[in-house]
């Protein structure tokens, strides 16, 4: 099973003809992802890596019936592209663009929830179900198939964690990046909900960082009881307050959003706290 993406997921790539879109599409196909169509307005009719390109999402949907879209469209145009995909009926849209204007990010996420669609991102690495398929830009050699679900704000922190797990013979069902914030569509809580119902996931690793609200929201969700062990690592403990640490959402303001607060909330909700990726496999061995 896995969550969000597997071998059967039919994937549409928006922005497939760009340098990054084209390169990453090739990597997704090589990994086994079923990419069925691409969209670049004005380039309809072309083939990229053997995949038909359409002028609009609507045309692509009509002809190739994709389930989800992954959007490589740059920040300034990402809102429009995501709304087009949602309007065309897709219920999961992955937005990778990092530099999405705040007002656009709010708008696209609000539009998605209005249409009961999931928007993963913006500023996300996407999702990968190791050994099955990937809907993102993960360096897939670092991942192996297994029974651990990972949800992370940062893509790179999930790569780091998966790398350490792989070195210890452990693998993942699905690894989800929710994005750098401060606006998120899909959150840790959504991932926890899906992992709970996924028979392939035995344990969840929740990776968080300073700033924002998603870890606190996840803690609130876990407090009501969760059937699988949750191990958490929060980074940014040493970060100076008032500074954006690379992600727009990673900032301690007026003492709020510290790593210490998030760790305390998650611990109280029953999560097991790790201090570094290295500790995670050791903690997993104790509970799995």
């Amino acid at each position: 099973m896995a969550i969000l993406v597997d071998r059967k997921t039919r994937v549409l790539v928006q922005g497939i003809t760009g340098k990054i879109g084209s390169f990453q599409t090739q990597l997704m196909i090589e990994y086994g992802t079923d990419v069925v169509a691409g969209v670049t307005p004005g380039k309809g009719g072309q083939l990229i890596h053997g995949i038909p390109v359409f002028d609009s999402v609507q045309q692509a949907v009509k002809n190739t019936k994709p389930d989800v879209s992954i959007c490589f469209v740059p920040g300034p145009y990402a809102c429009d592209a995501a709304m087009e995909a949602i309007d065309a009926g897709l219920r999961l849209v992955v937005v990778l663009a990092e530099a999405v204007p705040l007002s656009d990010a709010v708008k696209m996420v609000a539009f998605a929830s209005k249409h009961d669609a999931f928007l993963l991102g913006p500023d996300t690495a996407g999702a990968i179900s190791p050994g099955k398929a990937k809907l993102g830009v993960h360096p897939h050699r670092l991942f192996i198939e297994g029974r651990i679900g990972i949800v992370s704000r940062s893509g790179a922190l999930s790569y780091e964690t998966a790398k350490v797990l792989t070195e210890n013979g452990l693998g993942e069902s699905t690894v989800v990046g929710i994005g750098g914030g401060p606006v998120w569509g899909f959150t840790h809580r959504d991932a926890l909900r899906m992992f709970r119902d996924d028979p392939d996931t035995e344990l969840v690793v929740l990776l968080g960082e300073i700033g924002g609200y998603v870890e606190e929201e996840a803690a609130e969700y876990l407090r009501n009881g969760y059937p699988k062990p949750v191990i958490t690592l929060i980074v940014g403990k040493a970060a100076p307050p008032g500074q954006k640490m690379g992600h727009a959402g990673a900032i301690i303001q007026q003492g709020r959003g510290t790593a210490q607060d998030k760790i305390a909330a998650l611990k109280q909700a029953g999560a097991i706290v790790a201090n570094s990726p290295r500790e995670i496999p050791l903690l997993i061995r104790k509970v799995m």
Partner: protein, 385 residues
């Protein structure tokens, strides 16, 4: 991107919000000159981007008999944290009946903009929220329906304003909304917003622009003058240089000896934490963001290695979108042009790592696969020197 107070005030004024009479001075002489043109008492305010200005001595008053030249140079020379003021704003000090708060920002959890008002101005709105939550009132602005003036009047009424003041406050808040929306801001606030018999006046002004919207704010940016730092060697100089070099995140700590460059935010913060856990002290932290070119890698190394006190550089690369073959080219290019005596510890994993590692090896640069080992090595070599 935060604007200086005087820049924000000029924008407020364009939108019809009253501000005190004042002048911006960029030298001790200009401060005296400005004081001559204004009515005393005066308030002298350091123009810095850091918070905590008042507590750090960045705001001083000059009564009739006070020596403005002396007070002015005190304010101008006083660093706020590690930041020296770029200028001093000299203003006429106004008597007000009450200090109020008016602001607009985002509620990321609710996915909408929010108008915020309070009868308690002059203090951080977060502090008021904590201590007197009943005195902070909010109205959400629907992302699709937009703002309506009654929302500003609702807030004015809820913070206890009546008759003329109610409308004056509502107009000021509506103007702040316009600033917020038209400048694509992250935060716009007048705190305090002074209540006078003649109307509202913004005694302080804060605008934080959204860095990711700046591409569509060229008209606004062209009105904002670029301030040059006082010296060409200090922190303000290096910060503005980092910005010009296109380094998305550049943070300096006052003490430390280790420079960190990372290609991901989460892995960068992890590196920072691990360095700290192992007893290392970070002097400068650079994060390069999502789409990184070899040239950006090169420029970031230059910026990090030229910070005084740095005796070791730790580069942590674990790229997905970011390609290791390209990063290796950036690193080797930099080092062939600028042979460095400072030890450089590179950790390289991720997309196209074989190609990248081959390039590094050919240039005689050692690299690590394991982050723990790379951090250990960097902290150790920093101590050896």
């Amino acid at each position: 991107m935060r604007l200086y107070e005087y820049q924000a005030k000029r924008i407020f004024q364009k939108y019809g919000i009253a501000i005190p009479y004042g002048r911006v001075a960029k030298s001790a002489e200009e401060i005296v000159e400005a004081a001559h043109q204004l009515k005393r008492p005066l308030v002298l305010k350091a123009q810095v981007l850091a918070g905590g200005r008042g507590l750090a001595g960045g705001v001083k008053f000059a009564q009739d008999s006070d020596d403005v030249a002396k007070i002015g140079s005190e304010v101008f020379d006083q660093a706020i944290g590690i930041e020296k003021p770029a200028a001093v704003l000299v203003e006429e000090k106004l008597a007000v009946i009450q200090e109020l708060y008016a602001g607009v920002t985002w509620d990321y959890q609710r996915k909408c903009a929010v108008l915020i008002g309070s009868s308690r101005g002059g203090v951080d709105i977060e502090t008021v929220t904590k201590e007197h939550p009943e005195d902070v009132v909010k109205q959400n602005v629907d992302p699709f329906l937009g703002f309506s003036a009654y929302q500003a009047r609702t807030i004015a009424g809820m913070i206890g304003l009546k008759s003329q003041s109610l409308n004056q406050y509502a107009n000021a808040l509506a103007a702040l909304w316009k600033v917020f929306q038209q400048s694509d801001a992250e935060l716009v606030e007048a705190n305090p917003l002074g209540l006078q018999d003649s109307g509202m006046v913004a005694l302080d002004a804060k605008i934080v622009l959204d860095d990711r919207s700046i591409f569509r704010q060229t008209a606004l940016l062209s009105q904002i003058e670029e301030l040059s730092p006082q010296t060409s060697s200090g922190f303000e100089y290096r910060r503005s240089r980092a910005k010009k070099l296109g380094i998305p995140t550049y943070i300096e700590m006052p003490q430390g000896n280790l420079a960190i460059i990372a290609d991901g935010a989460g892995s960068g913060m992890l590196t920072f934490d691990m360095v700290t856990d192992q007893g290392g002290k970070t002097r400068v932290y650079c994060e390069m963001g999502g789409e990184i070119t070899p040239e950006l890698m090169e420029r970031t190394m230059m910026a990090a290695l030229s910070v005084e006190g740095v005796n070791v550089l730790l580069v942590n690369l674990i790229g997905g979108l970011n390609r290791m073959d390209e990063m290796a080219i950036g690193i080797t290019n930099y080092l062939s042009k600028n042979p460095s005596k400072t030890p450089i510890v590179v950790r390289m994993s991720g997309t196209r790592q074989e190609e990248g590692r081959k390039t590094l090896a050919a240039a005689g640069i050692t690299f690590f696969d394991d982050l723990d080992k790379a951090v250990g090595e960097a902290v150790k070599s920093g101590r050896r020197i």
